[in-house]
Symmetry: C2
Subunit: 329 residues, 2 copies
């Protein structure tokens, strides 16, 4: 496409846009861009008051409004393509590996022989890509509320959406809370909750009734891993999540974290819990993915995860350990 031109094509209710970004064109840009640094996307939210991370925008590739949220894709100048939901960065091509690999392999490498896996959220397909590296897995269900996220990922992030190509995957478009209620008791070995922040459509995924449904859908000794915010920004939310999980999950309850540069404060955490049954020691991966490299041919090598960083993820700074250990074992 020639510089300075603009194309707009319909895509599932959204609008696919290629637009050059420069200071003079600010009036045509979405509010999250034009209101802050001209030509830059800035992430401003009451979830992290007083700070903003900004990425330089080369081109806006897609802007849409689904039934649930605003969806945007842009080409950044140094982080590859970027997916934004309701003004919040969900993934960039440069650092998505850290989040997708950790949220998936922390639970799946902690149990022997996982066969049935459920992903709630994760409509971009990145978690599916990682789950499908595990040869033991026979069935992967994914329940995403927003079809636009799936469609946009398939169009703009093929190396992420590649997860949908696995024949073991069944995609369910719908509400994860309702989906879980209909699941027969004890169905899954592992459930991964790849949600956005607890403001907006993902709010229920941080509440006690949801965790109770998760526990019921897991086999004895089954495991869940949920996105669980930042130790630097959200200790009050984490404290509540840990207390809820401690109440619901009778196996072990643990908090882990990793680095993701484009998430607020540069870190993201995970709650890892197991149900009553065979004990799970999350800190010691007994099902190392490093050992089997048959997945590398089709999906490329792991870029972030390894067994050492798995164990290290459970080591917390003292300020966080103090709060979390007062709520969990």
């Amino acid at each position: 496409m020639a510089e300075g031109t603009q194309s707009v094509t319909e895509l599932n209710g959204g609008v696919s846009v290629e637009m050059e970004v420069n200071n003079g064109g600010a009036a045509e840009l979405p509010a999250s861009i034009s209101s802050v640094i001209p030509g830059w996307f800035s992430e401003i939210s009451p979830m992290w008051p007083g700070e903003a991370h900004s990425l330089k925008v080369e081109k806006i590739l897609f802007q849409g409004k689904s039934d649930y949220q605003d969806v945007m894709v842009f080409q950044s100048s140094t982080y590859g393509k970027v997916l934004v939901l309701d003004g919040v960065i969900q993934l960039t091509e440069r650092d998505e590996c850290a989040y997708q690999e950790m949220i998936t392999h922390l639970p799946l490498c902690s149990i022997p022989n996982p066969k049935k896996v459920l992903v709630i959220g994760g409509g971009d397909g990145g978690v599916l890509r990682e789950v499908s590296r595990h040869a033991s897995v026979e069935q992967i269900d994914l329940c995403e509320i927003d079809k636009m996220v799936v469609d946009v990922s398939k169009q703009f992030f093929p190396s992420v959406a590649v997860g949908f190509d696995d024949p073991r995957v069944t995609l369910h478009i719908g509400d994860g809370v309702a989906f879980l209620k209909a699941v027969p008791e004890g169905t899954y070995d592992a459930i991964i909750v790849d949600s956005s922040d607890p403001i907006g459509p993902a709010q229920e995924l941080f509440e006690k009734p949801f965790f109770a449904s998760v526990a019921k859908a897991l086999r004895p000794g089954g495991v869940v891993c949920t996105q669980a915010e930042s130790i630097w920004l959200h200790m009050h939310i984490i404290e509540d999540i840990v207390a809820n999980c401690r109440h619901i999950f009778k196996g072990s309850v643990n908090y882990a974290w990793t680095t993701v540069p484009t998430y607020p404060s540069g870190v993201i955490g995970f709650m890892l819990c197991s149900t009553e049954g065979p004990p799970v020691n999350f800190k010691n991966p007994i099902n190392p993915i490093d050992a089997d490299d048959s997945h590398v041919k089709t999906k490329g090598p792991l870029r972030f995860y390894n067994s050492e960083i798995h164990s290290a993820a459970f080591c917390l700074p003292s300020f966080a350990r103090k709060v979390i250990e007062s709520k969990a074992n």
Copy 2:
């Protein structure tokens, strides 16, 4: 001080300013603020192209130009007071604990009974505060090139500059490279290089002749810890530092990292090396600070560091491990 007023007082060549920040007043603000988000400080640098982290400014407290760099202090709305050198955030009251505690205790907890410690840079005093937690230490020398940093820290960051109050500390204002050359061979048990980025006055501190001087100033089996940039942003710089260190230090050469939200990409790394002599296993702290809490009464408890996170800091993401292990053992 009344809202909307402004006071300016002389401080060692700089100017102490209290100024309300609002959109209308942008014309009076330094370039790093007014050029980006009105009322916000944005960190833009060729060291991290295409991204910027911004903090909301409540008041600019100090602006000065020393012989070496621009020095600024501002009150942020959610990160406490912030020290900025040449437009780059050096510390915020909210997250300085992570950097100061890790750069200090990673080396000092890895050797038995450290007695003589040299700090190069670190004019804010935060590393001194941490070194002085170690009861075995008898002598602490600090060589900072820029007196304005020391003076500004003492005025605006008393909980950081408290490190200067320890009677074991001797402050040398001068060039770290020249200081090291004059040190008798084998003087120190540990040297901590708390430098800014390798653009500006700290450039030489990342080069081979400097590392050779460090090695010479250390006793056999002595250790050095240097600030060593971000695995997400600066693998090419890190690769060079590791190769240089591998050439100079005949003991062990290791890379560790930690989370600091207000540093670019949210992480900062450290090179930890030992000279020929008694072997040092940096990954296994043999001199745990957790064991002795006599320092807590005067300096407050450790907020970030503990023995678990010490060991975890050496576990690297696969993409970084691959590069670093090809250069080091």
